[in-house]
């Protein structure tokens, strides 16, 4: 086990600058998730750690060793690919033992290690099968087994669950996390699925266009996104954004949307915001159903109602802004009806519209 340090790393393909000055610190034994939309450079970064892509500039260290010029096989890493990348002509046991065979381990040792890994992954009965005879979930486990038998310093996962169906994905997510808890091997995991990132990571790295937008533990990213991109990327259904500005009426600062609706804001934020155009961001679950006349409520016209059983997703128009609210209670309103929603101003964020940066309330710890 080892830490991984990525220091000021760049990747340039011809004329495109894919990774720009990325620095990430992955502590020993931690589970770090790189997340971002496709094309953000997260997979490229992972492949650079693996040694499948060259590092154009900067340094990557595994433990104390700079591995820029080290061959993949000497980096002591194992990688799990999106399409599993199993060798179709080898059995499960041969797939898992291939790296050990190349490293000239003894037959007994290989057999023992393969058996142990198969035990962990529940593959003991499938060792003599070929990949084509396995289900998607089993193939995924074999790919993980291939990584586990090597007992590497670092696990690299490249969207390992995205080829599985939704139910299996949730199950494998839990299994993966459990295996990490057991093996405690440093893990770097790439995904475009923010839920995977939120549920599995010790630390999330949100990337966009080859730049790290924010780096932190899942709940920090959720509660205090640095900008509109991170706020919009983390959380499902995603955060609502309403454009407008801060206006002061009778001494109290309020957020005035372009369509003229006044939203309550945390005075600590309003005080910092000033007169520039700002965007009001509020997550769907921070709306509550209210009755007319209560203070701080806003009238909303229902567009659609989606009951999910546990909660109700309501899409509604407040002024001219379309928002999504996730409500605990069951809502019987029909499209076109008027309801009243109360946003929780303490949970809302304000972003500078131009820079998209979040305005930090005075007194908030960094």
């Amino acid at each position: 086990m080892s830490s991984v340090e990525i220091e000021n790393v760049h990747k340039i393909f011809g004329t495109t600058h894919v990774i720009r000055d990325v620095s990430i610190d992955v502590p020993d034994g931690s589970f770090v998730v790189l997340v971002g939309p496709s094309g953000c450079g997260k997979s490229t970064l992972l492949r650079m750690i693996a040694g499948l892509e060259e590092i154009s500039a900067g340094e990557i260290k595994i433990g104390a060793r700079v591995i820029n010029e080290v061959q993949p096989k000497h980096r002591n890493i194992a990688m799990v690919f999106q399409n599993y990348a199993l060798y179709p002509h080898m059995t499960v046991a041969e797939n898992m033992g291939f790296s050990l065979r190349l490293a000239r381990h003894s037959k007994d040792e290989i057999a023992t290690k393969v058996r142990d890994a198969a035990q962990i992954l529940g593959l003991s009965n499938y060792l003599e099968r070929f990949p084509r005879e396995l289900s998607g979930g089993q193939r995924q486990r074999v790919a993980m087994g291939r990584a586990i038998v090597r007992d590497p310093e670092v696990f690299l996962f490249d969207e390992p669950l995205s080829n599985l169906d939704a139910k299996l994905r949730v199950q494998m997510r839990a299994e993966l996390k459990e295996i990490h808890g057991r093996l405690k091997t440093t893990t770097i995991y790439v995904t475009h699925d923010q839920i995977e990132a939120m549920t599995m990571a010790d630390k999330i790295v949100v990337m966009r266009d080859g730049v790290v937008e924010q780096l932190g533990d899942p709940l920090t990213l959720y509660d205090r996104p640095v900008n509109m991109f991170v706020a919009g990327f983390i959380g499902s259904p995603s955060i609502n954004f309403v454009g407008g500005r801060i206006a002061r009426t009778d001494g109290a600062a309020k957020f005035l949307s372009h369509s003229g609706v006044r939203w309550q804001v945390d005075p600590r934020v309003a005080e910092v915001a000033g007169g520039t155009p700002v965007t009001y961001g509020i997550r769907p679950e921070h709306f509550a159903l209210a009755t007319d006349g209560e203070s701080g409520t806003l009238p909303a016209v229902v567009v659609t109602v989606e009951p999910t059983g546990a909660e109700t997703h309501v899409v509604a128009d407040i002024g001219e802004d379309r928002i999504t609210a996730v409500l605990r209670e069951r809502v019987s309103a029909r499209p076109g009806e008027k309801i009243h929603l109360r946003p929780d101003p303490a949970q809302a964020h304000l972003f500078e519209s131009e820079s998209t940066l979040r305005i930090q309330p005075s007194g908030e710890a960094h």
Partner: protein, 325 residues
């Protein structure tokens, strides 16, 4: 009649005849034989649908039967008679064949061809496909290597006649020998090895074929399995022989068997280069030699060739079908 007009008429009559056959026979089936009306309507529709495939396949079955199945049986029957075709001699031709020294030489030589040519062509094709894959000028190299495919066997033989010419001013082999101060030889006269000099011609032609097919197969290998192997610690040789080659084994077999079948058919090279002299005879050229000579042995040779090709061909077809799936 003007040949162009004659050709056009033939095409129109041929294509029109085909269209007419399918259209009219179908019409006949649906309207007259099993009409989709009356009291037996559903029975008639079912029967018409059961008959239709056979109706449409009939021309192909008939043509294949006439031009493939009948000749096989006919040849076999013919091989049991003497040259004039008026005296039944049982397996006399075969007996004469297997006891003939020339046939044994041809059979042995053909065995060498079957062992060497497909192996060499496939191996070279595979290696070239892999080596040219990542080169910027790889496609030019591939085109050059593929080009001999477009040359007829006789043409290729004539080219190689120059290479093998027993004159240092013309022949490449003798020019090289001359450079090292060695005497002039005629490669076609070197016993045993002259067979291999002839095989080189077919290998030269067939390597391009193997290369093109295997190159496509190599590109079909998922890149991720190669990357996984790199991370597993495989060196380029191990990646090639233990990851890539096993994954395209099916295609290799198809290429190999296809060339094997070809080897058992090619007579032109031997015919052009040596005429079967100097112990270079192989079965197809041996057959050609007897075509216009005594005994009617040629049909027997043809049949022996067919028996030898058959298992290879079945394997080839089975593999090709598996690849398609």
């Amino acid at each position: 009649m003007n040949p162009i007009i004659a050709g056009l008429v033939t095409i129109v009559v041929g294509v029109g005849g085909c269209v007419g056959y399918f259209y009219l026979s179908n019409l006949l089936l649906d309207k007259v034989i099993f009409p989709a009306r009356g009291e037996n309507i559903s029975r008639n529709i079912n029967r018409a649908n059961a008959v239709r495939p056979w109706l449409f396949m009939f021309p192909a079955i008939f043509a294949l039967g006439l031009y493939l199945v009948y000749p096989v049986i006919g040849s076999f029957w013919r091989s049991l008679y003497n040259r004039a075709g008026n005296e039944f001699i049982g397996f006399g031709n075969y007996q004469a064949l297997f006891t003939s020294g020339d046939f044994q030489v041809a059979f042995f030589n053909n065995l060498l061809w079957v062992l060497v040519v497909p192996a060499a062509s496939t191996f070279l094709g595979l290696v070239i496909a892999q080596l040219t894959d990542r080169l910027s000028w790889g496609n030019i190299a591939k085109s050059l290597i593929f080009m001999p495919m477009a040359i007829s066997f006789v043409g290729a033989s004539l080219i190689w006649k120059f290479v093998y010419a027993n004159d240092p001013d013309i022949g490449l082999i003798n020019a090289i020998r001359d450079f090292f101060g060695l005497g002039v030889i005629d490669p076609m006269l070197v016993p045993f090895w002259n067979n291999f000099f002839l095989m080189v011609i077919l290998i030269w032609i067939q390597t391009g074929f193997a290369m093109v097919i295997l190159s496509a197969a190599l590109r079909g290998i998922p890149e991720e399995t190669v990357e996984a192997a790199i991370i597993d610690g495989a060196n380029p040789f191990q990646i090639f022989f233990r990851i890539k080659v096993p994954q395209i084994m099916g295609t290799i077999v198809v290429v190999w068997t296809t060339i094997t079948i070809l080897v058992l058919k090619v007579f032109d090279i031997v015919y052009t280069m040596t005429g079967g002299e100097f112990d270079t005879e192989i079965l197809p050229s041996f057959m050609m030699d007897y075509m216009f000579r005594d005994d009617g042995i040629a049909t027997a040779v043809a049949f022996v060739i067919m028996i030898v090709v058959l298992p290879v061909m079945i394997w080839n077809i089975v593999q090709a079908r598996r690849e398609l799936r």
